[in-house]
């Protein structure tokens, strides 16, 4: 018996308390499938509560047709077709219900993008930003081939290509105060959202936890690295775009988790 079979006969089970009538397959499936067994116990509880309500305060008979019409309008029930034995409405089969909800991942993912956009778009562009003159036709002849040394020292010292004056400006803020030190060296503790994310992954897909954790560390490191660069070069539009890309990578990770582990 599959979930579909069980859910098809659930209304009859609930109406007539007929668990035994559907044989051992039904019982076996309920024992092995937490979704269906949870659904059955929920429906039984609702039915019991409804019967108690009916015993105390019986609503007007006109209430039930109105509720039925509303449920039909929402697509939650439909009339059985003519070949069915019983003539009453049946529950429409809904998608399998997750044992727990990962609904919070969606707003967190959206919040990441929003936060990234806000941080990037609200960075003040200081006066000393290394503005480069717009290129003019023919002013920048092609370099073929062009290479630069790949040593870390060379890359960090020369990006962006800076004159001593620019370097001096970089080390101070517009008000003349020393610029804050780069913050990309120390790995901070995971945020509350990240801890909750990993906790959910541990519960729901323990075999994938290590992979998700490693990816989360990597995207967080990318965000920190890019943020540090943007802090040092707030007028650099490309760097801000890369920061946005890094946030989008984290959003992608949350989205994949949202889709895969519920």
């Amino acid at each position: 018996m599959t979930c579909s079979d069980v859910q098809r006969v659930l209304p009859e089970v609930i109406d007539g308390d007929l668990n035994g009538a559907f044989g051992s397959d039904f019982e076996t499936h309920l024992r092995s499938c937490p979704d269906c067994s949870d659904l059955l116990s929920d429906l039984k509880m609702i039915t019991t509560e409804a019967r108690q309500l009916a015993a105390t305060e019986e609503p007007s008979p006109s209430v039930w047709p109105q509720i039925a019409a509303q449920l039909r309008a929402e697509g939650l029930i439909r009339d059985q077709n003519s070949e069915s034995a019983a003539g009453g409405p049946v529950l429409v089969q809904l998608p399998p219900r997750p044992r727990w909800s990962a609904w919070w991942l969606a707003p967190v993912a959206a919040a990441l993008v929003a936060a990234g956009s806000y941080v990037i778009s609200h960075k003040p562009a200081p006066q000393f930003a290394n503005q480069q003159a717009p290129a003019t036709p023919g002013a920048a002849p092609a370099q073929a081939p062009t290479t630069v040394p790949e040593s870390p020292a060379a890359t960090t010292a020369s990006v962006p290509a800076a004159t001593p004056e620019q370097e001096a400006k970089k080390s101070t803020t517009p008000t003349g105060l020393p610029a804050p030190a780069p913050e990309a060296t120390v790995e901070p503790l995971p945020s509350a959202e990240d801890r909750q994310f990993l906790s959910v992954v541990s519960t729901r897909a323990p075999s994938m936890r290590a992979a998700y954790e490693n990816q989360l560390k990597a995207v967080n490191a990318d965000i920190r690295e890019t943020q540090a660069y943007v802090n040092r070069n707030p007028g650099d539009a490309d760097a801000r775009q890369h920061l946005m890309d890094a946030y989008q990578q984290k959003t992608l990770l949350y989205q994949i988790a949202l889709d895969r582990i519920q």
């Binding site: 599959t2 979930c3 579909s4 092995s32 499938c33 937490p34 399998p96 480069q132 003159a133 717009p134 290129a135 003019t136 036709p137 023919g138 002013a139 920048a140 002849p141 092609a142 370099q143 073929a144 081939p145 062009t146 290479t147 630069v148 040394p149 790949e150 890359t155 960090t156 990006v159 962006p160 290509a161 897909a205 323990p206 075999s207 994938m208 992979a211 998700y212 990816q215 990597a218 995207v219 990318d222 690295e225 890019t226 660069y229 650099d236 490309d238 760097a239 775009q241 890369h242 890309d245 890094a246 989008q248 990578q249 992608l252 990770l253 989205q255 994949i256 988790a257 889709d259 895969r260």
Partner: protein, 291 residues
């Protein structure tokens, strides 16, 4: 007869506990084998097919024009396959039963579908593969290896966390690939929009960038390498914030609002510049090489 058998057993010196043990072991082994189940659906043109499994491979190949055949291989005591058809839409999903994990809950799917069908494939572990199709393809996975070959006229969307992604001979559709750490290998992939983004993965493109397309390859720390023919017709813009950038093309200068920074970026046209190519990395190396 039984006496002869017993005599034979005595002659080859097989003791009964060993025989019983072997029989039991073979019974247990056969119980652990996965079973295959086939599902068939009749569909019209441009059917929409979705296969979603937590663990396992999904492979799609073209079959007849109006028939979808799904073969699922799994252990029925651990997994159920839920499937339904609503008109031209088919949904197949694995449903893990209690206590099932990655080892026991694997379901491998093989699909034979009409070539014009649109396909959505999802698996955490993969691999995911599709070939010789003309419809839209969406492939999503966590650590899935992705292979797409010989796809024309359809859009190809791939979204993974890791695992290498390979597209070969994909034409005339939008291609959008997003990965966090997966390497992306594109060979003979052209279309009006080809967009690849990866965090730490490497992007490798081997092809001619077609005509009239918009190509955007973006990484954070992964390298980007494009291997193109000498007669390529494309406008190039490449920039790496911290990595080095190089090309061996005699690019013609072009007017741009972006300035060129020697060793970190280049801008220029090759041929008639019929396609636009943007290569962008934060700390990865970018190379444009001639075939």
């Amino acid at each position: 007869m039984a006496g002869l058998l017993m005599a034979g057993l005595r002659q080859v010196r097989i003791d009964y506990p060993t025989v019983v043990g072997l029989v039991l072991a073979s019974c247990l082994a056969s119980a652990a084998f996965a079973a295959s189940k086939e599902y068939r659906y009749t569909v019209g043109p441009h059917a929409n097919i979705t296969v979603d499994t937590q663990y396992g491979a999904i492979s799609v190949k073209p079959g007849s024009d109006n028939l979808v055949v799904v073969t699922a291989t799994f252990k029925p005591e651990n997994v159920e396959v839920d499937q339904q058809q609503s008109g031209n839409r088919i949904e197949v999903a694995s449903h893990l039963l209690r206590g099932t994990d990655q080892q026991t809950g694997q379901v491998d799917y093989e699909l034979m579908i009409p070539p014009d069908a649109n396909v959505n494939l999802r698996s955490s572990t993969g691999p995911l593969s599709a070939e010789r199709l003309r419809g839209d393809l969406t492939l999503e996975g966590a650590e899935a290896v992705v292979n797409v070959r010989n796809v024309e006229d359809g859009h190809v969307h791939v979204r993974t966390m890791g695992g290498p992604i390979t597209l070969v001979d994909v034409r005339n559709g939008h291609v959008e690939i997003a990965s966090i750490s997966g390497d992306v290998h594109l060979k003979s992939v052209t279309g009006p929009l080809v967009q690849v983004s990866s965090g730490s993965g490497r992007i490798f493109y081997d092809g001619d960038f077609g005509s009239g397309g918009d190509y955007r390859f973006i990484t954070h720390s992964g390298d980007i390498e494009a291997l193109v023919p000498a007669d390529v017709s494309a406008g190039f813009r490449a920039h790496s914030m911290l990595g080095r950038v190089q090309h061996d093309f005699p690019l013609k200068p072009r007017h741009s609002r972006f300035s060129e920074e020697v060793g970190r970026s280049f801008i220029g046209n090759a041929g008639q510049a019929s396609s636009e190519v943007v290569l962008r990395s934060f700390s990865g190396r970018i190379r444009l090489k001639q075939q």
